[in-house]
Symmetry: D2
Subunit: 162 residues, 4 copies
């Protein structure tokens, strides 16, 4: 069965507006990345929102939870801003126990050339196919359980809490 | 414990010689990729050879088997040319059953900018951390058991044999 | 004789801070660009400032004028933010008539991969070597006299005023 | 009036065939480069051939001369393999004296990411707009008269003969 991919935005999908000099969202780069990776994993892609994760509301998270419950697939990858990725993971874990859900993102926008996004996507898809049911964060080549992960604000790296 | 990474060459590490117009090997790009991926997976990297996998001899494969047996780690990623990756996987599987060994590579040299190498490395590291003991090929976002994989020469994609 | 290159900042040299998500200045990418372009033009490079051109003061512009007058070379390329590039060009033209001065920049930071910076630098160096004394803006593959150029705020393109 | 651009192939436009591992020609990347450079130079582009310049015949060169004579524009840029670029320049100079013709190319294919092609194109377009009638090679940020240029086979750099 296919892997479900939900897009929520984050640095992963940010673009540079050359007129204003601001970062902004347009379309997801997911399809380009899967093509570049020559991926043959069957996937169903749906964009749920395109926002900075610092602006993600409780309502937005409810929508994500709802979509994860509703979809047919039991292997799910969610692209997400890194700042509150751990928070969304915890909420998902409270509500869903019969699926493998992997959140991932990027520290550098994919459009900026030397992004970690392609590496993270490769690992997230692999973790979604192999880990037992549960909610995980996949960053820095590793996976973290939703109840034991945080982003280190100084280094930008994800780490265990305990 | 760390993941052991063995480098054997392949398209993954090929460079373009701008004087002769030929592809050739210099150093591995593994360190650059791990840095770009912001990887925090503890790794031990060793270059065993730097060759096109069509030129890999039985002796070369014996060396790879030997190194996989000898190393302390039981999670191993091997970068390898795609043309004979399945062959090397089968030989490894005959000799080693108590480790998780994942072979990966690239269809486009990493130096050429739009390579699948970073995606493949992300997935290979993830599969090495999660799959049970056995020998696998990780390409196109998927993993294949060593006894059921081949490269489709027309499409360049990996597929099950049966 | 060498071409003098003065660096003043602008989008050309902006970087993405992956911790804060802000654009900022570190070092100039001039040397990387000249290497990528396999440039053999003899050059003398000096960084005068590293600022957004919207923040450039009258004092900053005096410094640029002074440096252009003081230097031995009579062929000068200045990298500059695009927003006020035309303003600085006009001021230079009022003070200096015995040198060929070419201002250039970029709409996309060089670090972002698909920048116009390498193209602009190639054209700016060429214009500096071939145009008669005067002050010019080199953008969009064209050159503009300092007294007849403005940036179109809607399109981001440079154009003649009259 | 527009600048005429003639495409003849060369490393500039080579691609990597990921199935065979060979370099080959498909379409020109000229349009992508002009877009990346945000070029607003009016141009007329025509592909005359797509070949390695080591395989260019006397007949091919006659065709190039013919096209340069026939076209309306008197500013012409020709993309060309670097190995015999100087030879074609000399032949053009024997036949055409009332136009500015600039030959340029690349040491690294544009598709390989860190190519000198974008830099060279920027300089070639600039030289075509500013140099007096004559035939020139534009490489390494410099321009060379057709009767005083050769490619240094050891370094890959262009240099004066005398």
């Amino acid at each position: 069965m296919a892997v479900r991919i939900f897009i929520t935005g984050g640095t992963f999908d940010k673009e540079y507006n050359e007129i204003t000099g601001q970062l902004y969202f347009k379309d997801t780069h997911m399809h380009d990345l899967l093509e570049m990776g020559r991926s043959h994993v069957p996937v169903e892609i749906r964009t749920l929102m395109m926002i900075d994760s610092l602006e993600m509301t409780a309502e937005d998270r409810e929508l994500i939870v709802h979509q994860c419950i509703q979809c047919d697939e039991d292997k799910i990858v969610i692209t997400h801003g890194t700042d509150t990725m751990s928070d969304t993971a915890k909420i998902l874990a409270q509500k869903i126990t019969d699926k493998t859900i992997v959140l991932t993102g990027a520290m550098i926008p994919i459009k900026f050339g030397s992004s970690d996004g392609l590496f993270n996507l490769g690992s997230a898809l692999a973790f979604a196919q192999t880990l037992p049911h549960g909610v995980y964060v996949a960053m820095n080549g590793r996976y973290f359980h939703s109840d034991n992960v945080r982003k280190n604000k100084q280094t930008g790296m994800f780490e265990e809490v305990k």
